[in-house]
């Protein structure tokens, strides 16, 4: 499994110190001796099944979170249901296109790229399929990850509801449940795919 050219040695992605990965008991961590980077984590199973399942779940939740309204706002007998996209449309209508693009990218686009391509690369690595463009897809996963801000969006929704509650009646919609689950999913995925795993994955991509 390890790259024969390096005799099992790897370099720390943060400070380039050499280290040799070793099997870790579940719950144990491997940290870089020089800079303290988390390099690996012991877990019960090394298979890619759990992260893949998470990525698929996350993708499904992302679709659901965008189909169902996150909240409904009532004031003086009028009400409006809010999808994630509604706010983006609102920004466009008010002439703030760049903001709309930014919100769209961070709340829908980047998570979709991240989760979608993660499903693609993880399933290819797991089933050892030579699918086209795997390295490029993986590169996009890494590019999209820091811009995928679903947990931040969830907090913003919470603050917005608190704020709007003063003006009228706000009811949480089904979409909000999916947004919360989706943010948990993204946070867990971020922790599962630690550096060592990413290195192994990179080598395993056919």
């Amino acid at each position: 499994m390890s790259n024969p050219a390096t005799h099992g040695w790897r370099t720390c992605p943060d400070c380039e110190a050499s280290y040799r990965p070793r099997p870790l008991a579940p719950g144990h961590q491997l940290r870089c001796k020089r800079c303290g980077a988390r390099l690996g984590q012991g877990r019960k199973s090394d298979s890619l099944q759990t992260p893949l399942a998470m990525a698929v779940t996350g993708g499904t939740l992302l679709v659901l979170a965008n189909i169902f309204p996150v909240m409904t706002f009532d004031v003086a007998g009028r009400n409006q249901s809010n999808l994630i996209i509604t706010g983006i449309q609102g920004l466009v209508e008010q002439g703030y296109g760049p903001l709309a693009v930014l919100v769209f990218f961070c709340a829908i686009g980047a998570p979709a790229i991240y989760l979608g391509l993660l499903c693609y690369t993880l399933s290819a690595a797991m089933m050892r399929l030579r699918l086209p463009g795997l390295m490029r897809a993986w590169r996009w996963v890494e590019l999209a990850e820091p811009w995928s801000l679903i947990p931040v969006f969830a907090v913003a929704c919470l603050v917005a509801v608190v704020r709007l509650d003063l003006l009228g009646t706000v009811t949480w919609g089904n979409g909000s449940v999916f947004v919360v689950l989706l943010s948990l999913c993204c946070l867990i995925l971020g922790r599962m795919l630690d550096r060592e795993r990413i290195e192994v994955l990179r080598e395993e991509l056919p």
Binding site: E16, A76, A156
Partner: protein
């Protein structure tokens, strides 16, 4: 010039743009809320105060931290990291600081998302409306600049031995 040097220069450019935009982002109003008998142009700080005054101090703490403390902290930290580039001092601390910046950096997007959720709701005609204001553009630009600046700094540079 190596690729890593180009990225360092890009990080500097982004950081300085972010710093220049920080002032207008905080002085100009980011949104206007219109309610019956009420018309408020709110700056970021105004939003913090408004939350506090109506007794929602947890909300005001969230906005204050995410929208004012985090961007300033990011500008200063990334500035220090770029300034110290190539120095053999404080390597462990700089590495740790970089990780902290990466972890908390994106939380400053809360205000932009908040605006987008409020704008959607504020389309109920005469009853209530929320209008985005130009300050929001500056604010968003600061966010993008600081996030992109730290993404462009290669953490491995901290540990490279180079005659500087």
């Amino acid at each position: 010039m190596s690729r890593s040097d180009v990225r360092l220069q890009r990080a500097w450019a982004l950081l300085l743009s972010g710093a220049a935009l920080y002032l207008p982002a905080n002085v100009m109003p980011v949104m206007t809320m219109t309610l019956p008998g009420h018309h408020d142009a709110l700056t970021v700080w105004g939003g913090v105060i408004e939350f506090y005054e109506v007794g929602l101090w947890p909300g005001s703490v969230v906005i204050f931290l995410a929208s004012m403390v985090v961007p300033l902290f990011k500008l200063l930290s990334v500035g220090w990291l770029l300034w110290m580039d190539g120095s053999p001092h404080y390597r462990v601390q700089r590495t740790k600081l970089f990780r902290v910046v990466e972890t908390i950096g994106t939380w400053s997007m809360v205000d932009i998302f908040l605006l987008s959720v409020l704008v959607a709701v504020g389309q109920l005609g005469a009853f209530a409306s929320v209008q985005a204001e130009p300050g929001a553009l500056f604010f968003a630009a600061v966010m993008v600049c600081t996030i992109a600046a730290s993404l462009n700094y290669d953490i491995r540079r901290i540990w490279r031995e180079e005659a500087s």
